[in-house]
């Protein structure tokens, strides 16, 4: 898994961010002593740097210039200073993204994934599989055996999220949260409608009861 280096002077955020990223499966390293940050970065050799702008001693911008002299490691600035000129400057100095505090956690994770994907040049797998079901993301179809069916964008995202968490019970609220990340802004009722349609489409290709409802808890594949 990629290694993420956290450069942040607030101890609570440093610690919590570390835990969050580790729970997401990343390896982490944190800078707690701000005397020789470029040296520590070289030592840790991270795949991505999350950096606060307002650091003790020297600010993140000049640090960024220093880091850029030695490496191309992507840098995401995370800061509570949200002026447009800061953002422009940070990006022109070699930052890869700029996120303002307080951030929504799903948004932060999505931006980290996006930067890593962009830098790594690795395309995400185009098909997802769960049991007999194959989901073709770019074509927007689901297939089982010989049969195949077209899905709407909403249905595709719902199924992809469920297939990303196979066997687990996915609470409706988590599912809605994940859909909002993909700019599908639906409510509970619309989710039910979509799930119903999705189920009947899966039935068409011979997979009735593929999505199970766990009453009061959520859905499960």
């Amino acid at each position: 898994m990629p290694k993420i280096m956290i450069i942040e002077d607030d101890p609570a955020i440093r610690e919590e961010l570390g835990l969050l990223l580790e729970n997401e499966g990343y390896r982490t390293a944190a800078v707690a002593d701000f005397s020789d940050v470029p040296g520590q970065i070289q030592g840790a050799a991270p795949d991505l740097i999350l950096m606060d702008l307002g650091l003790p001693g020297r600010d993140g911008m000049s640090l960024c210039v220093d880091i850029r002299k030695a490496s191309r490691t992507p840098i995401i600035f995370v800061t509570s200073w949200d002026s447009a000129s800061d953002e422009l400057r940070a990006l022109s100095l070699g930052g890869d993204d700029y996120i303002t505090k307080p951030y929504n956690i799903p948004v932060l994770l999505a931006r980290i994934r996006a930067v890593l994907r962009r830098v790594g040049g690795q395309a995400e797998s185009d098909t997802l599989e769960a049991g007999e079901l194959k989901l073709h993301l770019t074509r927007g179809t689901a297939s089982a055996g010989e049969k195949s069916v077209e899905l709407t964008r909403n249905e595709l995202k719902i199924l992809a999220y469920l297939m990303g968490n196979p066997g687990q019970i996915v609470p409706r609220a988590d599912l809605i949260d994940a859909l909002w990340d993909s700019q599908i802004y639906i409510d509970d009722n619309t989710l039910s409608v979509n799930i119903t349609r999705l189920r009947s489409k899966l039935e068409e290709i011979g997979l009735p009861g593929f999505i199970k409802t766990r009453r009061g808890m959520g859905y499960q594949l």
Binding site: L19, S80, D82, P102, I105, P171, D177, Q183, Y185, I186
Partner: protein, 336 residues
Amino acid sequence: MRLGEFLSDRLDRLLIQGTCAGTAAFFLWATGTQPGVLVILLLSLLLVFIAFHLTDFFRQRARLQELNAILDGLDQKYLFAECLPPARKLYERRFLGLTRRAGQAMTEAVSDARAAQLEYREYVERWVHEIKTPITAARLICGHLEGDIRRRLTYELGQIEGHVERALFYARAASPERDCVIRPAQLGEIVSRAIGTHRTLLIQSGVRVETEGLDLCVYTDEKWAAFILGQLLQNAARYRGTEPAITISARPLGNQVQLTVADNGIGIPAHELPRVFDRGFTGSNGRVRGGSTGMGLYLCRKLAGFLELGLTISSEEGKGSAVTLTFPAKENLTKL
């Protein structure tokens, strides 16, 4: 200054001069001066008086016009006394001296107030940025919690952020040119930025958001526009009806772009509609539900004014409200 008012202003002098001339003529006549001589004398006196007063009139009028022009040409009118040409007459000199002293006192008071306001603004900005650190930490800590409690706390944190954000923009609105950068922006990005900021509130309010035709470019400050949009989204979520839905749609209108945020909420009574952009106006809905500050739409109008955005609202009680933002055409922007 007209001749009539000038003369009536110096009626006292005219009367004294007339009386003196009359008395002298009577005295000369009584001591045996010939009437012909008297007439010549009086006529020449009259000519001298007329010439004197007329010269005075024209001189004063020219002087006043000059001062008027100076005042009109000044951006900061209170600096008038500093820019005066030297006075020719003792009385005017003294009088302008007093004006200058008064003006200096005013200039000092103004610059003190300016400095205090700037200091306060800077403090608010600093405070806002500082408070964001613990809010961020709290959000991350919330990640350890499960399910409902996490969602409720995240919701409350979102409320805190909303208030903090309004305080920040309120402070910024006092001198917007320092922060506002107008450049081309994708409308879709502004909208998803605003929705992203308020997603917890929207999701928990059970709101469905539909977007339509947002693939347009506008000339604006992305952050400010997203803030305005955010206020509209918060209002739509707060004053929602059953099965709440918000439609955000855009369409080009000549070189302008119209963005409409429409909801199916409880709506605003017609008689309150003209006042919703007033500072501190909460309306009957706000009073019934509580938690309304009357600042959201006021700030929207203020910031929209600076971004040269058109801002209109329509509403029907029980049916919903629609706010339309009209983004100006690039050519019409004065601040680009």
